[in-house]
């Protein structure tokens, strides 16, 4: 094998599984370490740099970081990354003075952002310090977009949204609430230098079965959640059936329990492993005694005398055909009596306000064609992000879209090529403080994951505004942070210092090292004391070692970054080095800012 190029920032980036898994590449081990040091504001700011809304995301992020956490490959449960983010938010101090200043003299460029959700606010956050004037249009009476209208208040209290959104708005955004944009054509004619569309995927999917429009007790999930959020709906029937198996279904069923629902059922047509809901959204629903009925497909709304009395379902048996495709067979039929049906079977983008004759290309699902790198549509200067770009995803994706769109907008306004973007960079700095002293807590902690305390069952349903999760207590998070394996403290190897004493190989607690003759990857993977069997994780191969010409191997899969290899290394061929991923944002792309910084240096 060729020697591994550790100069490429993406090599070490991939070792930090959580950061690699996060769409915005949040420096997770970095902020967890700051929490451990009691530097909550710094931890919040480190988060904010990449994900902009730590308080919101610390509660409702889809946390793609957790399933990939290295800890899962060593024991059962990942580090409670998301809930630790909330700790930083709960305990932070004032941070407004730490944000990059917004210049009083504007740069003369005006940007229109449509939809006051996370994507648009990220664009504003990134462009304000560069002197842009931002006009933000929102059809609803409040900012927040889908996170305010669709996420129930018992999961995400409005004050959290207010705080993090207001910080950005108060930095000089021209906010226009109750101001739906009715025509893209008209907007294009105004004097905006660029337009960003962050309108989400606001349309819930319909389920057009017999009886659908014969009663007024059938609701589309996300519209219903919006009505609940804005208090247009404050009650629900006693018996509620929710159709669907995603996170919206979970929000609908738990909301129903708080609005008077007594017998609430979630009915899904497939098996549990096919449900789209995240475990951490399904489990609280089951804890609250929601009935989950699987393998039932809806057939008819049963309406008697204009009143919904039940829902008829076909009971399905699933099989795989010869091509591996799932097929279903109806084996029974039941009617589930109910007073209300809520449909939570997906959501769609809808752009009735974008005229089809303005030169914007739409795909077969009537969604604009958007470039996955620049986020530009086929109309120059019109950018998309969040759910509006590629359909419903999640908040953290929307934030990353916002960052990327901001870079594109800045380049577009400066007539630079949009694809000429900065690459990731990195800093790598030794973590060695002394003979056996490192700038991180390198000892392995055997604690199991701590559970976040919640409001007791008997008092959580009284009011939909009661936030169920209370956040970690100090005694818990101070130990939970120690579970983090500090994957960003990299084992960095310098081949020409190695004397091949084998000390590192013997001391490694997970047997992930070996010195051997170079060969093909398969052979090398088998040579490691405990073979490297996870092909998704990289195999490090050093340059030829000076004494024998053999190579040092390291399986990145289960290294726990304890630093024992570096402690045992007599020549510091192994060193533990703090890796910092340098992510380019709009400000970094700004030539003027860079020139000023260079001058200051």
């Amino acid at each position: 094998m060729q020697p591994t190029n550790t100069k490429d920032p993406q090599y070490y980036h991939k070792v930090v599984d959580c950061q690699w898994g996060c769409p915005a590449h949040t420096d997770v081990p970095g902020y967890i370490r700051l929490i451990a040091q009691g530097k909550y504001t710094e931890s919040y700011m480190l988060n904010r740099e990449s994900n902009v809304f730590p308080g919101i995301l610390g509660r409702v992020c889809d946390r793609p970081c957790e399933p990939v956490c290295r800890r899962v490959r060593v024991e059962d449960e990942p580090v409670a990354i998301c809930r630790l983010k909330r700790v930083a938010d709960d305990l932070k101090g004032d941070y407004k003075h730490l944000l990059p200043p917004v210049p009083e003299t504007k740069n003369g460029k005006k940007i229109a952002c449509i939809g006051a959700g996370c994507a648009s606010l990220t664009v504003a956050n990134d462009l304000l310090p560069l002197g842009y004037e931002i006009d933000l249009f929102e059809s609803l009476p409040e900012t927040g977009g889908l996170i305010r209208s669709n996420i129930p208040k018992f999961r995400l209290p409005p004050r959290v949204i207010d705080e993090e959104f207001d910080v950005i708005v108060e930095r000089g955004v021209n906010l226009h609430l109750n101001h739906p944009i009715e025509s893209m054509k008209n907007l294009l004619e105004e004097d905006y230098n660029a337009i960003f569309v962050g309108t989400g995927a606001p349309k819930g999917r319909e389920l057009d079965l017999p009886g659908r429009y014969e009663s007024d007790q059938v609701f589309v999930g996300i519209a219903w959640l919006e009505s609940v959020a804005f208090e247009h709906i404050d009650s629900v029937g006693e018996r509620v059936v929710i159709i669907g198996g995603g996170n919206t279904a979970m929000d609908c069923c738990r909301s129903s329990l708080r609005l008077g629902g007594k017998d609430v059922k979630v009915v899904y047509r497939g098996s549990r492993d096919r449900m789209k809901s995240s475990d951490w959204e399904l489990e609280p629903a089951l804890d609250e005694d929601i009935d989950l009925i699987l393998n039932h497909s809806p057939e008819e709304y049963v309406v008697e005398n204009g009143k919904l009395v039940g829902m008829r379902f076909a009971k399905l048996k699933w099989d795989q055909d010869d091509n591996g495709k799932l097929t279903s067979e109806k084996i029974d039929e039941i009617v589930i009596p109910c007073d209300t049906v809520i449909l939570a079977i997906g959501q769609e983008n809808t752009f009735p306000w974008v005229e089809r004759d303005i030169g914007m290309e739409f795909d077969q699902w009537e969604v604009p064609v958007v470039d996955p790198v620049t986020y530009e549509s086929t109309v120059k200067g019109v950018f998309f992000g969040g759910d509006a770009a590629f359909g419903p995803k999640n908040i953290i994706e929307a934030v990353e879209h916002g960052h990327q769109a901001a870079i594109s907008i800045h380049k577009y306004c400066n007539t630079e090529p949009l694809t000429d973007r900065l690459d990731y960079g990195m800093n790598l700095m030794s973590a060695k403080m002394g003979l056996h002293e490192w700038s991180y807590s390198n000892d392995y902690d055997y604690d199991k994951r701590f559970e976040v305390p919640t409001v007791p069952m008997d008092s959580r349903f009284k009011d939909i505004n009661i936030e169920v999760e209370l956040g970690f207590e100090p005694g818990q998070f101070r130990r939970e942070v120690e579970r983090c394996l500090n994957c960003d403290i990299q084992t960095d190897f310098v081949a020409n210092l190695c004397i091949e004493c084998d000390a590192c190989i013997d001391v490694c607690p997970v047997d992930c090292l070996m010195i051997t003759d170079n060969a093909d990857e398969d052979v090398l993977r088998s040579k490691i004391k405990t073979p490297a069997e996870n092909p998704e994780q990289a195999l490090f191969v050093s340059e030829d070692l000076p004494h024998t010409g053999r190579v040092m191997l390291k399986d990145e899969d289960v290294c726990i970054h304890c630093g024992l290899c570096a402690e045992r290394c007599p020549t510091a061929a192994w060193d533990m080095k703090k890796f910092e991923l340098l992510i380019p944002y709009a400000m970094d792309e700004d030539k003027q800012t860079n020139a000023m910084q260079a001058e200051a240096v």
Binding site: N442, P509, E533, H547, L564, P570
Partner: protein, 351 residues
């Protein structure tokens, strides 16, 4: 050395031996030797050896004297028996232990100081007795524990860390052992585990005294340019005379060697030592040949390694002394202590 303890993490695909044990189960306390010490690598090789041989830890006795080397039994097999003897006196403790129980695996770990200076008398007689044990010398040419003075194995002309040359002739434990009639003599290098592990296995399974002299660089005091026992010097001057492989009894492993190129030695436990010669005229079963070859490569400044000499035909200590094979702790009280009458009778003979 390291301050934190090695975390105990069991991987799903960790190798297990026939007893269901993992490498970790054969480990000991964290080493307090210097980082990069050759001794730690030898410890690693011993762990690999006893793991592969499926040795139940309670059937193994670790013995040592005094010195850096003699600390190492603390770093492997912490479920085994151990005895840390007085300086250079490990062979007599081993003799006593073996008299009481010949059914254990004996691993002695000593150094060049412990063996070739203060303990040279005991060492010589352990060889003559043909004690059934594996005797490892972790040979680094210096007294590391007392800050790097030359030991009896330091070569003439090699220098101490600050430059003073050694003027006294070295003792070569291998030449000495062969001439004293040792039945298993090998030399190896801590930095060559592929060679060391099969030698350790063969030595442990050999019936009789098995000496393995392992060059084990002292990273702190003897890994510099003037040293002849540094990592780089050893690597540059090593010359493997005989490649050794050990095949365990009933093992399924088949090794293909070109016909006529190997020499097989059957061990008493039913295992086999397979020797393939790197040197055409080298005969590891001929004492005179072996001594001559070691001397000649010494003259050339080379370090001859591998299984230098083996003789499986000699009787060991237990057989020669005609003592009982059953461990004393398994004998009945009646047999162990036949009573005052018998004692009086015995004493009568010496009057």
């Amino acid at each position: 050395m390291s301050y934190i303890k090695k975390p105990k993490i069991l991987r799903d695909n960790a190798k297990r031996n026939e007893l269901g044990m993992t490498y970790t189960d054969y480990e000991g306390s964290m080493s307090t030797l210097c980082a990069g010490c050759g001794h730690d690598a030898i410890t690693g090789a011993i762990i690999e050896t006893v793991f592969d041989l499926n040795i139940p830890p309670h059937r193994m006795i670790k013995l040592s004297g005094i010195g850096c080397s003699s600390k190492t039994p603390a770093y492997f097999a912490n479920q085994s028996h151990g005895f840390n003897a007085v300086h250079g006196r490990m062979p007599s403790v081993a003799t006593g232990a073996q008299s009481a129980n010949s059914q254990m695996y004996y691993i002695g770990v000593s150094g060049d100081g412990d063996t070739l200076s203060i303990g040279i008398g005991q060492f010589a007689h352990a060889i003559r007795r043909n004690l059934n044990m594996l005797y490892i010398i972790e040979n680094n040419g210096v007294y590391g524990l007392t800050k790097g003075q030359f030991s009896a194995s330091a070569d003439i002309g090699s220098t101490a860390k600050k430059g003073a040359p050694n003027l006294q002739t070295p003792i070569d434990p291998c030449q000495m052992a062969i001439s004293l009639g040792a039945t298993f003599v090998a030399r190896s290098f801590s930095g060559d585990r592929e060679q060391l592990v099969p030698l350790l296995k063969s030595g442990l399974m050999h019936r009789g005294f098995a000496l393995i002299d392992v060059i084990s660089p002292c990273v702190t005091f003897n890994d510099h340019e003037g040293s002849t026992k540094s990592y780089i010097h050893t690597r540059e001057h090593i010359n493997e005379a005989v490649y050794t492989d050990y095949i365990h009894p009933l093992s399924e492993i088949k090794v293909d060697y070109p016909e006529g190129s190997t020499l097989e030695v059957d061990l008493h436990n039913g295992g086999k030592v397979i020797l393939s010669k790197a040197h055409k005229n080298y005969s590891p079963v001929n004492r005179s040949d072996a001594i001559r070859s070691v001397r000649e490569s010494d003259d050339r400044g080379e370090i001859l390694t591998g299984l230098l000499y083996i003789d499986e035909s000699q009787a060991d200590f237990i057989e020669n002394e005609n003592t009982i094979e059953t461990p004393l702790n398994e004998l009945s009280y009646q047999n162990l202590c036949p009573g005052s009458e018998k004692l009086a009778k015995l004493q009568q003979r010496y009057k």
